[in-house]
């Protein structure tokens, strides 16, 4: 469709909507004072990123994102918020006490990244105008995971086992009869 003489595809509209939601939710994650609401914003942000994956022709990743990130990680964070509500009020890490200063620093970093990364003429030379449509599905992901990346795939299970053990030990409440 044409708006003000510009040709705009439906996908562009979808992108702007999804990306706008994502960035808005991300701002909410860092600015909303209530940590529970911030965690919910994170959920929205993660859904938005899943939408971006879908737009980039990575449907499997979009599903993984929703299931693991939104379904598991966000839920875990919200549970932890419920479990340890008072810790949230404790501040001892803040590096920059002036939010405006922090915003300025982040803004400068963003402009820098915009110039060097997002708007890089050099990058335009190595990429296509549209994302690939071939070999992007579940099958290619599975083949890649089990052939060239079988080592990280196996290693990930060891990592998860070790972290599981460690997290349980740390989070578990020790009863008196255990020394």
């Amino acid at each position: 469709m044409h708006i003000f003489g510009l040709f705009i595809t439906g996908y562009q509209v979808a992108f702007v909507a999804v990306a706008g939601l994502t960035v808005l939710a991300a701002v909410g994650v860092v600015l909303v004072p209530n940590i529970l609401r911030a965690a919910l914003c994170l959920g929205v942000m993660l859904m938005g990123v899943a939408g971006l994956y879908a737009l980039m022709n990575a449907p499997f990743l979009a599903v993984v994102q929703v299931m693991i990130y939104v379904g598991a990680i966000t839920t875990m964070i919200i549970l932890a918020v419920f479990l340890s509500n008072r810790v949230m009020k404790i501040g001892f890490f803040q590096a920059v006490y002036n939010p405006l200063l922090a915003a300025a620093a982040a803004g400068v970093m963003f402009l820098f990244l915009l110039v060097t990364v997002a708007n890089s003429v050099w990058v335009q030379g190595i990429v296509e105008k549209t994302p690939a449509t071939k070999d992007v599905g579940v099958q290619s992901v599975a083949t890649a995971l089990l052939q060239p990346y079988v080592f990280p795939f196996e290693l990930a299970s060891v990592v998860l086992l070790a972290v599981l053990i460690g997290a349980v030990v740390i989070a578990k409440e020790d009863t008196a009869d255990e020394s």
Partner: protein
């Protein structure tokens, strides 16, 4: 599907969203006053990197599935990292719940 989904969307749009999320995450790291708030900011930064990975993976002239694979590993590790972080936070909470302290820092910074 006959043509690409992201018809008319250049890669720079996705990279821009990635850069935005990364910088918002950095901002959050600087201003958030609680451990979980900082953890949320870190998740933003990880997602920024994932968007880059997937965007490059599918936009490159020689598309590479490795972008998606890398992102899957990142999601896996993000889950593990969140578990570790939350376990430590819960443990601190348990240590602190009998003490009414505004600050738990007992060491000098």
């Amino acid at each position: 599907m006959s043509h690409s989904l992201a018809y008319g969307i250049p890669i720079s749009w996705f990279l821009t969203v990635g850069a935005m999320l990364f910088c918002i995450g950095l901002f959050g790291m600087m201003v958030r006053r609680s451990a979980i708030g900082m953890l949320l900011s870190i998740e933003l930064m990880l997602n920024a990197a994932n968007i880059n990975l997937v965007a490059f993976g599918s936009y490159l002239k020689l598309p590479s599935i490795a972008g998606q694979v890398f992102a899957i590993f990142v999601i896996t590790l993000a889950a593990a990292e969140a578990a570790v972080g939350l376990a430590i936070v819960i443990n601190i909470y348990r240590n602190e719940q009998h003490i009414d302290a505004d600050k738990i820092s007992v060491m000098k910074m």
